[in-house]
Symmetry: C2
Subunit: 405 residues, 2 copies
Amino acid sequence: MITWIDGGVCAAKGYKANGIHCGIRKNKEKKDLSLIVSDVPAAAAAVYTTNLVKGAPLVVTKQHLANGTAQAIVCNSGNANTCNANGIEIAEQMSRLAADAVGIAPDDVVVASTGVIGQPLEIAPIAKGMPALAAGLRDTGSADAAAGIMTTDTVKKEVAVSFTLGGKTCRLGGIAKGSGMIHPNMATMLVFITTDAAISAPMLQQALSGDIANTFNMLSIDGDTSTNDMVTVLANGLAGNPCITEENADFAVFMQALNTVNVALCRKIAGDGEGATRLLECSVVGAGDEATAKTVAKSVICSSLLKAAMFGADANWGRVLCAIGYSGAQVDVNKIDVAFQSKKGKIAVCKNGAGIAFSEEKAKEILLEDEIEILVDLNSGAAAATAWGCDLTYDYVRINGDYRT
Amino acid sequence: MITWIDGGVCAAKGYKANGIHCGIRKNKEKKDLSLIVSDVPAAAAAVYTTNLVKGAPLVVTKQHLANGTAQAIVCNSGNANTCNANGIEIAEQMSRLAADAVGIAPDDVVVASTGVIGQPLEIAPIAKGMPALAAGLRDTGSADAAAGIMTTDTVKKEVAVSFTLGGKTCRLGGIAKGSGMIHPNMATMLVFITTDAAISAPMLQQALSGDIANTFNMLSIDGDTSTNDMVTVLANGLAGNPCITEENADFAVFMQALNTVNVALCRKIAGDGEGATRLLECSVVGAGDEATAKTVAKSVICSSLLKAAMFGADANWGRVLCAIGYSGAQVDVNKIDVAFQSKKGKIAVCKNGAGIAFSEEKAKEILLEDEIEILVDLNSGAAAATAWGCDLTYDYVRINGDYRT
């Protein structure tokens, strides 16, 4: 049984967190530096952006995690520390400042940055803020840590679950940041997950890499794959369960818990897409194989035209078919059924690749909801996939038209 | 020498055209049916959308052009005649109506439709309008024909050139439609080109297929590949030049004329992208090979984040680097230089993959122009490519938020 609980990255035993304003951002109301620390060294795993342009913090984190161990995560917002000549140096200094503040080794620190690219990140505000940041670490600090990593996010993103492994209660929770520059085929935005389950670093990496193919890599806000995004998991083992070192029944439960948290974070990120008014979820069933289902679901979620139609609550299913047609997946377009669904009900709009009569009034009522499901049945097999995204709105343009200024 | 001339699809000898309002659109001010006719049968070539969902008119046109000959083009706007159970039948009826009106065989007709998908196209208004449409055919009718194929276009798109083959003056001109649902890897929007040059159907097809790889396939408005788009060329030979039947010097001149017209139409389409305020042209040089140059140029032009930044006249070059990084092309990001250019001058913003100091004021002045060049030097070879697109604006969202209603 997976049970929702409170606490985000502090839900699991032995984690403390904090977030403060240290001065990277001009607006003093906005936190810009976060720290998450485990009481004991933890097994660590991560996935990184596939963008060839990689933020300096990712390069440094990858080195730090080479031994599969970490104990702290430090992250700033307001500046991505990417495409700067001194990026690696700054990321290493950030790690050392965090390590010194909590008394661990610099290579046990995950370091991350998010914000504008190509403007040198000053270390001074981080050095100045670190003592207060560390002093404020507490097991109720998840919300502040979640606030400190926000950029254009409008809401903090925290989630946690509890589950049982070998008779022991375990917890797994995460915080996430990201509402623009988000697209499949990457390790997506910033997601920091902590758990007190005992699991070896290789199995933790296997679980994470396996899960993101169905979660964060099925998420798109705007088709842009960022340079700085990563998902990391720390597992400190304080729950006392028998350590997972192979693909056994406990591993399956752990995967389920991880998937639950990751899907919840995906939905939170998609629903808070830059300027978004609606969360879009495209569920594809009846595919000949999983790759086809995923390709189709992602193509639909990524279509600017469909996203704009959803903003207008317009049941323009032709754009769904169009996006399937150019997805690159080999499908029989004459077998495709499409329906829209929300809390207000479900309406079929296309059968066997052609339009069917439907009530525009009912469709509008359904599409005016905050969360819309686009249901696609390829009627060609048993494979399925789900992708998440959001509508395309005036505010996306406004937010990104003058992000730097 | 290639010389600009007036006349669009009627610039070449022996072509007449017309466009009228027949009643497919509710707004009587908007023309919705166009006809272009050659005095004599012409060699014909076409390229079609790569979308698996293909409009019925494309299927019918492909059959009609199997013998490499055509004499007329009929096209309606307001309805795409796609994803309808009776689509093929309607497209065939449209061909027959046009053929009967001008006294040719139905299989010498190119038939096209553009507009909303999935709503049956009524043949009645087309049948009713055809006599007047044909009666009004004239060698000054290109502008009306260009108007009849517009959807969300805000301006008519016509262009023509003259050139010399074997001592004979030849002309080649075209009209185009398209401002949304436009993306590389397709035969793009609707483009109808006519020429009086004598060229065999196979060489005409070779010229067209070769050229679109550098023109219409390097054009993107919104990343959506439409179901209905095609580019066709008719060559009626009335210029009296020695017929081009192989890759000789005349073929090279013909290719140059075709490229000149196609690039001009690409720029017109990009500049009139749905809601666009600026034409974007991304020129990539210094690539190791042409495929890399093309991939990089297209990725930059397609980035929603960069497009929004250009709307805001924001010199956010980090988004250019980011788009190159996720393009899939293998490039050394530490060698990339980026500059922006317009009529107001040129400004370097990134050198060797990192930011350099520049005047934000000067950058803003440059980026506030209508036509912006994004100059990327990969410093890794001699290959180059250019892609065209537009900024992402509030109006794109408005236009596509309620296209059907």
